[in-house]
Symmetry: D2
C-alpha cells in the first residue's frame, strides 16, 4: 500500500483548534489526505467547513453514522482511517461505529468517559483487527523516545523515582462562564467525564509508563476543584508505587495562573536522572552520577531508531508540537500500511494490527483504556482517602487473527 492514505474526520469544525492540528499532522508528510468528514453536529456547519477545506461535498456528512455507512459502502476509495476529535462523551459510540465498518480509528484522549466503554472498544478493535490509536502526542517527540530508550538501556541505572507534572493556568479562573468554547465542554461532566485528569492527566500517566516501561501497583490521589462552581476536577496530585519500591508522582493542574502548558518529566535511578521539559522539547538532560550532565538533542549522541523516525529537520532547526503530532501520525500510517501489506501478501503470516502497533510503541486502545482506568482509580482514591490498587489488565479478546 504505497498509495496515499485516505482519512475522514468526525468533529473538528470551525474554531476547534485540535481538528486543524490533527489534519495538518496527518497530512504532514504527504502520505495521507483528508477526504471526508462530519465536522459538526450542526449539519450546515459541517457542510460549510467541508467546503472551506475543499472536500467533495458528497463526502461531507451531516452526522457520523451516515458517514460510517456511506464510506463503508464505497468500493474503491473508502477512507482507511477516521479521526475522532469530538468532546469525550461521543468517542465510544463513534469509534464503535467505524470499527464495526472495519475502518481504523485515531481517537483523541481520553479514549472514553467510562472504563467499561474503553474496554469494550479494546475488545471490538481486537475482534475487527483494526487500529484504535489514541493521540498521546508527547510520545511523538524524538527526545521523549530517546528517553524511553535510555531508561531501557540502563542510562539511569536502577529506577528510583518517576515523575510527570503537567501544569496549565488557562482554567485558573472560571472562564467557562465567559462562554469560551473549549472551556465550556471540558468543564461539563456530561461531555468531558473528568476534568484535569481526563484532559491532561492521562497524557502524564501515559508518558510515565512510556518512558519508564513500568505500570503502577497502587496509587493515592488528592483530586480537587479550586474554582467555585466548577463541576469537574481542575487539579490533582497522585502518588504512585511500583514494583521494587519505585515511587511515582503525577501532578496535573489547570489552575496555575500564568502557566501556559508545562509538562516536565523526571526519571531517576541510582546512576542518573533524566529530565525533559515540554517548554524546550529538543533537549533531553541526563544528570550523571559520574558528574555533570549530558544533553541529548536530535543531533545526538546515538539517536535511537524511534527518535530518528520522528525527525524531519536538521538539528538546531526547532521542531515542536506539530512535528510531534505528525510523527505520531507517521507511525499510525506506517502501522496501517504494514498491516495492509501483510493482508495483501499471500505468503506473509497474518499479523494483528495491535502487534504491529506495539512494534511502533504506538498508543492504542489498551493505552487509552489504561488512561481511563487511571482516571477512575485516582478519583476513587481521592474520594476514599486511601491507597488503591492501580493495576489494570487489558481485556482478552477473541481477535480474528
Amino acid at each position: 500500500m504505497t498509495r496515499i492514505l485516505r482519512f475522514g474526520m468526525v468533529g473538528g469544525g470551525p474554531g476547534a483548534f485540535i481538528g486543524a492540528v490533527h489534519q495538518r499532522a496527518a497530512e504532514y508528510d504527504g502520505r495521507a489526505r483528508l477526504v471526508a468528514g462530519a465536522f459538526s453536529s450542526d449539519a450546515a456547519r459541517s457542510q460549510a467547513h467541508g467546503r472551506a477545506l475543499g472536500l467533495d461535498a458528497a463526502r461531507v456528512y451531516d452526522d457520523y453514522r451516515t458517514m460510517a455507512e456511506r464510506e463503508a459502502a464505497r468500493t474503491d476509495d473508502r477512507i482507511d482511517l477516521v479521526v475522532i476529535v469530538t468532546p469525550n462523551h461521543l468517542h465510544h459510540e463513534i469509534a464503535t461505529a467505524f470499527l464495526e465498518c472495519d475502518i481504523h480509528v485515531v481517537c483523541d484522549k481520553p479514549l472514553t468517559t467510562t472504563l467499561s466503554d474503553a474496554e469494550s472498544l479494546c475488545r471490538l478493535a481486537a475482534q475487527r483487527d483494526r487500529l484504535l490509536a489514541v493521540s498521546y502526542v508527547y510520545t511523538g517527540y524524538p527526545m521523549v523516545r530517546q528517553a524511553r530508550a535510555l531508561v531501557a538501556d540502563g542510562a539511569v541505572g536502577t529506577l528510583r523515582r518517576i515523575s510527570v507534572q503537567y501544569t496549565q493556568g488557562w482554567l485558573a479562573q472560571a472562564v467557562e462562564r465567559t462562554g469560551q468554547k473549549g472551556a465550556v465542554w471540558r468543564t461539563d461532566p456530561a461531555l468531558a467525564g473528568a476534568g484535569a485528569l481526563g484532559d491532561i492527566g492521562v497524557h502524564a500517566f501515559h508518558l510515565m509508563g512510556y518512558v519508564s516501561g513500568l505500570a503502577p501497583q497502587r496509587l493515592f490521589a488528592d483530586v480537587t476543584t479550586h474554582v467555585d462552581g466548577r463541576r469537574v476536577d481542575d487539579d490533582a496530585s497522585v502518588l504512585l508505587q511500583y514494583d521494587d519500591g519505585v515511587r511515582g508522582l503525577l501532578v496535573c493542574t489547570q489552575v496555575a495562573g500564568g502557566v501556559e502548558n508545562d509538562v516536565r518529566l523526571r526519571v531517576s535511578g541510582d546512576a542518573g536522572t533524566l529530565e525533559w521539559s515540554h517548554a524546550h522539547p529538543e533537549e533531553l538532560v541526563l544528570h550523571q552520577a559520574s558528574g555533570g550532565q549530558r544533553v541529548y538533542t536530535r543531533g545526538g549522541p546515538d539517536p535511537v531508531p524511534a527518535a530518528l523516525r520522528a525527525m524531519r529537520l536538521p538539528p538546531g532547526h526547532p521542531e515542536g508540537f506539530h512535528d510531534a503530532f505528525a510523527s505520531m501520525y507517521a507511525d499510525t500510517i506506517a502501522v496501517i500500511e504494514k498491516h495492509g501489506a501483510a493482508a495483501g501478501d499471500r505468503n506473509a503470516s497474518r499479523v494483528a494490527v495491535a502487534t504491529i502497533a506495539r512494534q511502533f510503541d504506538l498508543p492504542d486502545a489498551a493505552d487509552g483504556a489504561a488512561g481511563v482506568h487511571f482516571i477512575e482509580t485516582a478519583l476513587r482514591s481521592s474520594r476514599e482517602q486511601c491507597w488503591v490498587d492501580a493495576r489494570w489488565q487489558a481485556p482478552m479478546a477473541s481477535a480474528r487473527s
Copy 2:
C-alpha cells in the same frame, strides 16, 4: 481569490531537505497545493519524485524552461506561484523565466550570485508586477515579529547596538570531500557564489534590518576560510555603522564544531535590550533598565498583529521552524490573494504587489538584492581591509502600475 492556490517547484528533488520544507510550509494551512514541478536536472529523477508526490505526470517536467512555458500555456489551472529551491547559481535564470510568464516566485536565499542579477530581478518583478519573495524564514517567527514591533515602539529606547550572530558547526571539517550533497554544492563557488555569507550571512543581515528598521552606512568585514582546500568563505565577522552612531555586529560561521544552528539576536538601546535565540524561539527577552526582564511569549503580553498572524497553537505548545516557514508562506499567499483580488475588482485602485508585500513586511526582491549587495560588500571590505560604503538603493523600475 478564495480558491486554493496552485504552486510549482523547481528543484527540491529527493534528498533535498529544503524542498520538503517549502512544500510542507506552503501547504500548511490548506490554502495552497503543489501541482507541478521540475524537481531535478535529471529528468528521470524529476519524474520519479513527482510520482512519489502523487502529482499529475503531465505536470512533472524535465526542466524548468519547459515547465514555465507549459504552465503559462494552461488556461484555467496554471500555477499561481513557483518555488525555486535549486542551488544558488540557477536562481536568476529560473526566476526570470517564470516572472516573464507572469508567475509569482518564492526564491530561496541568497536571491542570486551577483548583484547585477539581483537588481535585474528587482526590475523585472516590478515591471511584471509579480511577487518575488525571498525565504528569509526567521521573519516568520512570532517573537521576531514582536521584537520588530517593540523596537519600533520604543521598548529599548534610543538604539545603540544591533547584533545577529549565526553559528553552525556542520562545515567545521571538510565534509564536502565525503560527498555530502548539501556541502558539495554549498562549497562550490560556481554553484553557491559565496559560502557562509550567502548561506547564513544573508539571513543574519536581513534579520538585523528587519528588527531594527535600520540599514547600515558602512561596514568592515573579516571574511575567511578555515578549512584547508575549501573554495568559499566559511566564517565572517562584520562590524557595521549606522546613522546616529548606532553600531552593529554580524557574525556568520559554519566552523564552530558541535554547534547545530544557533541564531542569536540582540538589540540594545538606552532603555533596554532585546534578546532572541533560535534555540528557544518562543521566548523574547527584554532586559529593562528599570530592572529585571520581561519575557514575551506567544501568550503575550500585547502580541502585535504580525505576531498573532503567525501563530497556530495555544501558547505553551511549542511552535518551531516549520511553523515559521509556514507563516512566511501564509503571508506570501495573502499577498498574492490580495493582489489578485485587487486585480479582479473593477472599483479597486490597482495596487502593486510590492506595495502589498511591504504591508506584510514580506521579504521581497529588494530584500533579496540587499542581501546580495551585503555579500559583495563584505567580501570587498575584507579583501581591501577597510571600511566600505554599505548603502544600497533598490533600482528604480518602470512598474506596470
Copy 3:
C-alpha cells in the same frame, strides 16, 4: 552594640564543610568573629582545629559543657552567640547548655531529633529571652525574600498550589558503607533522627511556609527507603492541604542519581505563578495570567527591603550559597544587636528577642520545632497510610519579658 560580635562554635571540626560555611558566613561582613570553640568530641582534634584557625588556645575547649561554663564565666569578652553544627542528636543538649548560660544560639537544622526536645528548647529560649535561630538558609536568598513579598502583595492572586521539591542524588547508592563521613552519621538513626526528611525535608517545609505565609492543616506522606540496608528514609513525597482548599506538594529525595542539590519552588494563584530554582538563584520568574513572564533579579524591579538587605554585589555579579548564608547571619547579628540595644536603653520598652526575630522573618525556635513536627507527622502519615493533622502550635512560655 556597635562592637564586633564574638561567637563560638560547637562541632565543625576538620572535614566538616558546614562548619567552615557557618564561620565564613558569620564573619562575612566583618561584624562578628569566631573566638572560641569545641570543635570535636576528640579533644586533641578540637585543639588542633582551634590552632589552625588562629584562636586563643584558652578558648578552645575539649567539650561543649566546659565551653559553656567557662565562656559564661568570662566577664568582658564572653561569646555573644554559639553556633551548633554537630550531628542532630546533640543539638538539644548543647543548645540547652548555652541558653541556660544566656548565650544566643544558631543551630543547624533539624533543630532536634524529637518534638518534645524541640518544644522544650522553644520554652527555654523564651524564658531566657535568648535567640535560638535555625539555619534555614534558603530564606537568605534575595529572590526568595522577594517571592515572599510578592505573594503577600497579591502578585499571584488567590493561592491555589504551593510546591517545593528538593532533590539530591548523593545518597543514590550506599555511600555510607564507603565510610563517607557526612553520609555515615546522616544515615544513622541514633545520630540523625530522620533521613531525607530531616536533612532536606525541613528546608523544603520551611520554605513553603516562608513564601506562602501558610501552615498546612493536613498532610499525607509516602516516605520510603530505596537503598537496601539503609536505616533512615531517603525519599519522601508529601501532599498537603491548607485552608481555603489550597494544595501543597513537598518532595525530598536523596536518591535521584546525578542530581546535585536541586531545590525548586512553585507558588500558583489564580493570577500568576512564581518559580524559583536554586540552580539559578538570582532569577525569580513570575508567569502572569496576562501573558508572558516577568523575571525579577537583584536589579529589580521593585526590590523589597528584606531582599535589598540581603544583597552585597551589583546585579549581574552572581551571588550564591555563601551570600545567602551570610545574609541569614547578618539578620541574626542585627537581631542580637537590636535586642542588646533595647536591653541597654533605659527608656526603651523591653522587647523580647523573639519579637525582634519575627520582624526580620528570621527562622527561630518555633520554626525549628515546626520542622521537627513536620518530620514526625510525615513519618506517622506514611506509616498509617492516611491523612493526618498537620497543625502545630508553638508552646506557650513564661518568657521573662
Copy 4:
C-alpha cells in the same frame, strides 16, 4: 609560612563596593587579614573607615606614601601584601611605592593608564622579585579554569574562533552627571584612562588569552562613545587574528540598556565549541561535533586541579562572584607563601615569584601590561581605521633571581 598573611589596602573607602569585595575575598579562607590601610585621599575619611573596620588606629594612614614607609619600617608584623583599589590613574605610583619597599601587590584592573607605566611596573616587580597580581577575577571561576584545561587538552579540536562579549547597561545613559561616584571617575579620562575598554575590555581580553592559550597577531577595532558629552569610550567591537588563521571577537559595551553584567565566552574548534556565561557561572557547556552537549559543573566530570582548588561547596550549592574573587586571592596567598617558603629554605633553589605565579596561572604584571597594550592598540586601530599589530612582548628585566 603557615601564619596568617597580613595585608593592607589603598583605596576602598566607604561606598566603594570593590574594596569590600577585595577584603572579603582575601579573608575568605582565614588565611589573610586586613591590618592596615589608607582608604581615602581624605585623611578623616580614611581614619573613620579604618575604625569601622576595627583596625589599629596606628595602622590607618592618611596617605599611601606614609603607609608604605611606616609599614616597611615595622620589623615583625609589616604587611606582606597591599591591595590597590583606587581609581586607575594612581595605580602606577602606588604600586611603585610598595614594590620599592618589597611588599607584594594586588592591583585592580586596568594595571595602569599608560603602557609605559605598566612596563615599568613589570620591570620593577621583576627586579624586586615581588608579586604584582592583577585582579582579572574571571579566572577565579572553576568552570573558566576547566575551560582552559579542556581547550589545552583538545576537547574542541583545532581552534577556529574565540569570542568574549562583555555587556553592561549601567552607563546607557549619562549617569555620571547625576553624581554616581563609580560613574564619575570611570568616565573621567584623567582618572580612568580609557572607558569601557579599561573597565571591562581588559577582563574580556585576558579571558580570551587565558582560555585559549593564544595571543593575537593583529586587531581591528571600532571604538565609540554613544552617550553625548561622555569623554571616554563606552562601547567597542574588536576583531582579532591569531596564528593559523584563528579568529577572535571581543565586544565590550556599557550602553546595552537593562543588561546587568553579562560576560559570554565561546571557543570553537573543529571538534567542539565551549560556552560559558557569567550569568550561570557553574555551568560550562561543550557542544560536541559527535552530537549533543556535555555540561561540566563543579561536580564533574573530571575536574582539573586548578578548578578543584577553586571550589569550597559541594556541587549544587551555587558559588558566585565572591567565591571566584576569593579563589584568585587563595592563589595569590599560595604564591606568596610558596615564594616565602622557598626564601626561607636554605636547600631550595630560589625561584622567582613570577615563576611561581605562572604555575598558578595567576594574572600578574605581564598580564596587566598586556591588557594596557590591548587598550592602546584598540584605540589606535579605531582611530586609524586599519588593522594594527597586536603583539606585545613583556619587557626583559634584570630580575634578582
